[in-house]
Symmetry: C2
Subunit: 463 residues, 2 copies
């Protein structure tokens, strides 16, 4: 999940910490119909939670293909594997929808304190960073505590490496330094920017993620460093020591390459042109194995639909699973999807995205009209066996965003616990080991029930 | 702390999980005298816990000098700083006692899975590893689950990289694969050995530590890999995939260089030739900043003595603080100390080492005669304000070991919580951030009280 969309979602989420419940009394009209879904919902939940099939598939994806950054061979192979496997599952209309995506290459990189005694700094170049001059650059580090702090000390920044040492509060608040720090630092003549990793303290863990440059301004190298390294530099400078650093980045863009969204369907038995869209993004950053961000989002939405196939359930409307490409550094997949289906945007009845991990305690967020909310909340009663008692505000997601906007589509997000998610977010530690099989099964079950129920409603979910 | 001594200590510790209490009734004879120490003990505890002086000094050490592997410039500078600072503190007889130490250089290193799609493996060469051929080596990986498993599959190991994938149970049990894995793998013709990191799962965290080769046998490159990478390789091979790896290590020894133990004293007011020895080791591995292993052990023992100086306490016997060199990969400092003071070994009345971190819940371990134990337990009552209610079995330590053995010296260890310690042990994450100021203060207080009390006893602690 990239920064901007995440910010919106989390802000909404945080603002309404106490989940809003929508009393079922508000929507009594369709109760008998919901009751009729109860058996199928129970079957889906039982099938999802009977084994660790979904976790094993996630392990297969992340073990075999590893990190899947846009434009990489790994992503390309993962896409082909998903297509083949979806066909073998029995999905209909399994296809790749081509998209040109950027290809950013990290290259070698390092950061070293030269004085006091040399030591390596735990770092990761930010996604999209430009390269240092060949051989790297040497400069003194200027730690600042905020954008305003830098503005107040602008004259000290010239020729230096600015370090934004901002303790993690929430992703929404802190990520602004990762995305925007390079622009402000460049404005004051800094030669590079370092950002204290956007996440809680780990084990000397650096978090990557995209940096945004400003057109017409010289782009400077940008990297994240671990919380421990940031603290150390700050303590050293506070004691009056000059901290001199050698920084090497080799980040570069190569020409765009062809990638694809993967699409698979269960065609609706009565209203095949009305689409229930669900998915996650198959690309990841180039460190870790993209298990939580967002291999698991792909797997649980795919699995939700596979469970319907497995149980012989063909809903009234079409279930469409999309595994998007290039969410992390371009959103080309999501935009291409919205363009391709622009004329059918309003046929998208409902869209669900999973791109916040599946860590417990998880929640289901929804964005839509009041009436739609009331109906979703009522449907949510089908999830009681899974422990979901309420639908919280905040649906949507980066990949369903463009089509949802075009078609004014009601949206839902599967929201994993942020405290656990952001420990590994955009790090080398985003691996399948962090994810419990029962959390994956539970997410697949919840998504299966909600998408099936909306696909099966007699009338389409109101806008 | 290296493996062998740690094994002994932990075995003892684990075997007697329920700490043995020594009822104060066993040693009523010196109760009035202990009561006379109560005021000074309370003053020491108050002074230690009044501020975060010791933690700040630890931060100064680890921030300024970083990793301090034997033979490095960083260690050399840290030694000089300690000498100067101890002099400034007001210690007597502050000196460097020269010791020649090994100088092992890690060099560049990497491990990469070549097929399936290339990806970097999180690794650290083991301390003392030999180099791969220039440019590295390529070989298939053979995962095994134990020494016996390898013995049973010996014919498959030839020409391969053997991976010991042994889940962490306790350090004592699991470290045998790190120290001894290379020998057995070489015996079966393996070209290199990988060891699943000896520690609980971290955040893609590799743990280094020494490897032991066998004389007369070809030494093969040896490295640790993260738990996640080990699991991934095991899952891939379990699915029938061949895992081919490119491994690069450049480990090499350069000629021994001069290092030193740092010694500082408070001369005893009545029995200056009777020594109360306490300390930790100033060297560390070359990753992280050696904060828990064992910067903090140096700082808390040094601080214990500094508090006596600060409060104007000059005990009956001499307090001698030693910051040993080369504990991690040679124990040359400890052996040199024992040689230098061989004729005065029996003048060492008591020796205390801190080399297990200071993580709460901590304990004080003791090894000595039954009578000495009873007395120490009685003295332990002075620590009630700190929450230590018992003295547990298991004193000793790697650095006090040689002199204690030579002089049959009663020993004590400050034992930090192992569960927290081994998360960061020998990793890049061994930094001051993991250590709470109050835990450092508490350790210094407890060590100050115990060493002061033994130094002040009318009769020397019995052997």
């Amino acid at each position: 999940m990239p920064s901007n969309r995440r910010r919106l979602i989390l802000s909404t989420f945080v603002l309404v910490l106490a989940p809003l419940a929508f009393a079922s009394a508000q929507a009594p009209a369709f109760s008998p119909w919901v009751a009729g879904l109860r058996d199928d919902a129970a079957r889906l939940i039982r099938a999802a939670t009977a084994d660790d099939f979904a976790w094993q598939r996630l392990a297969m994806l992340t073990d075999t293909f590893g990190a899947r950054i846009s434009g990489s061979e790994n992503l390309s192979q993962a896409i082909d594997w998903a297509v083949e496997t979806m066909k073998a599952d029995g999905f209909e209309n399994v296809r790749k929808e081509p998209v040109m995506v950027p290809r950013w290459i990290r290259g070698r990189e390092s950061a070293e304190i030269l004085d006091p005694p040399r030591h390596q700094v735990a770092m990761l170049g930010l996604g999209g960073t430009v390269a240092t001059p060949p051989g790297g650059l040497d400069a003194d580090v200027l730690p600042v505590s905020s954008f305003d702090d830098l503005r107040g000390r602008g004259s000290e920044a010239k020729g230096r490496i600015v370090l934004f040492n901002v303790p993690y509060s929430s992703y929404a608040e802190t990520v602004t330094y990762r995305t925007g720090g390079a622009r402000l630092a460049a404005q004051y003549g800094a030669v590079a920017v370092l950002v204290r990793s956007v996440g809680p303290i780990g084990l000397r863990t650096a978090h990557t993620g995209s940096v945004q440059y400003q057109q017409g301004q010289k782009a400077i190298p940008a990297a994240s460093i671990s919380v421990e390294d940031a603290n150390r530099i700050v303590r050293l400078t506070a004691r009056g020591r000059r901290v001199r650093m050698h920084l090497v980045t080799e980040g570069r863009y190569e020409p765009d390459v062809e990638s694809a969204n993967v699409v698979a369907e269960i065609r609706g038995r009565e209203k095949p042109d009305e689409i229930i869209l669900l998915g996650g993004h198959l690309d990841s950053w180039d460190v870790g194995t993209g298990a939580s961000d967002d291999g698991v989002g792909c797997i649980v939405t795919w699995e939700a639909a596979r469970l319907m196939l497995k149980l012989g359930i063909r809903p009234r409307r079409t279930i469409r699973v999309v595994l998007w490409t290039n969410e992390e550094n371009g959103l080309r997949g999501a935009n291409a999807y919205a363009e391709r289906y622009a004329s059918q945007a309003e046929d998208h009845v409902f869209a669900l995205e999973s791109d916040s991990g599946v860590f417990a305690p998880a929640a289901l967020g929804f964005s839509g009209s009041g009436m739609a909310r009331a109906m979703m909340s009522h449907l949510g009663s089908l999830l009681a066996p899974l422990g979901f008692t309420e639908i919280v505000p905040g649906g949507g997601g980066a990949d369903i965003g463009p089509i949802a906007q075009a078609g004014n589509v009601p949206t839902m997000a599967y929201l994993g616990d942020a405290a656990r998610y952001f420990v590994i977010h955009h790090t080398a530690a985003d691996t399948v080991e962090r994810i419990a099989p029962d959390e994956v099964s539970k997410a697949a079950a919840a998504i299966a029930v909600m998408t099936y129920a909306v696909a099966e409603m007699p009338e389409r979910l109101p806008r």
